[in-house]
């Protein structure tokens, strides 16, 4: 009997992991892949000099976005996700950027500003809809583009002086 490879759905399309400011990954949207992404966030946030608390916030945002793609775009079924993260140094400041690309036929067509402004009903809180709200509250910029063959999401975190 031939043993199955333990990792079937994770591949590095280009070998750029040695580059200080950039990591790329292609994976299938199994729910356990959130741990792969968290490891990458841990590496990139450490390279960016983020505090543990800020690094956790970034990890939450990345986790939530991946969960949204897995649950809503692909409906819990397997699907291809391309992920890239970069540290970009601009003259007016540095940022940590995360790009997600999926090839799902379903697109989210809500308004991120409305999600960010949505109030929690404290008397009767609802278990749904928290993920995007968390993403909007922790990232400095979140954008979503509907493409002909899927979706692209971008999260940007500004790096403070000293980070």
């Amino acid at each position: 009997m031939t043993a199955k490879p333990c990792v079937q759905d994770v591949s590095f399309p280009e070998c750029e992991s040695s580059h200080v400011g950039r990591l790329r990954l292609q994976l299938n949207c199994n729910s356990d892949c959130v741990y792969v992404l968290r490891s990458i966030v841990a590496v990139m946030s450490a390279r960016a000099g983020m505090s543990e608390l800020r690094s956790n916030r970034v990890a939450v945002a990345v986790d939530e976005l991946f969960a949204n793609i897995a649950n809503h775009a692909y409906g819990g079924k397997p699907g291809r996700v391309e992920f890239e993260t970069r540290i970009i140094n601009h003259s007016d400041g540095s940022v940590l950027l995360f790009d997600f690309r999926d090839y799902a036929s379903v697109s989210w067509n809500g308004c991120l500003k409305e999600v960010a402004a949505r109030r929690i009903d404290h008397a009767n809180p609802c278990p749904g809809g928290l993920g995007l709200k968390l993403i909007c509250s922790v990232s400095d910029h979140c954008e979503h583009d509907i493409l002909d063959d899927g979706n692209r999401w971008r999260l940007i975190f500004k790096l403070a002086e000293g980070e």
């Binding site: 608390l53 969960a67 929690i120 809180p125 709200k133």
Partner: protein
Amino acid sequence: MDVKLTFEHENRDTQTALLRVHGDVTIHTSPRLREELKPLFSASIKEVRVVLNDVDFMDSSGIATLVEGLQWSRLTGGRFILSGLSENVRDVFELAKLDTVFDIEDSAA
């Protein structure tokens, strides 16, 4: 980083249920938390306490599960208490603006 979530149940008396959670609560593990939590709510249980001091990471799927726990406790008329939240987990509750909705105790039971 814990890919598996584990639990310990403690029944201190007939009216109190205590659930200790160990690991990270994510989209991958929150269904297990729901499975463990839901049976604790019954008319005879007056207090359900979830101890989270061994949880370093929680995302919105975990918080949503605990919101369900809050709803179940309201239906059964009991208290639902969270305790031992790490700084990171408490921060996520605050970001979600749900820290004042839950009955949160600082120290673990």
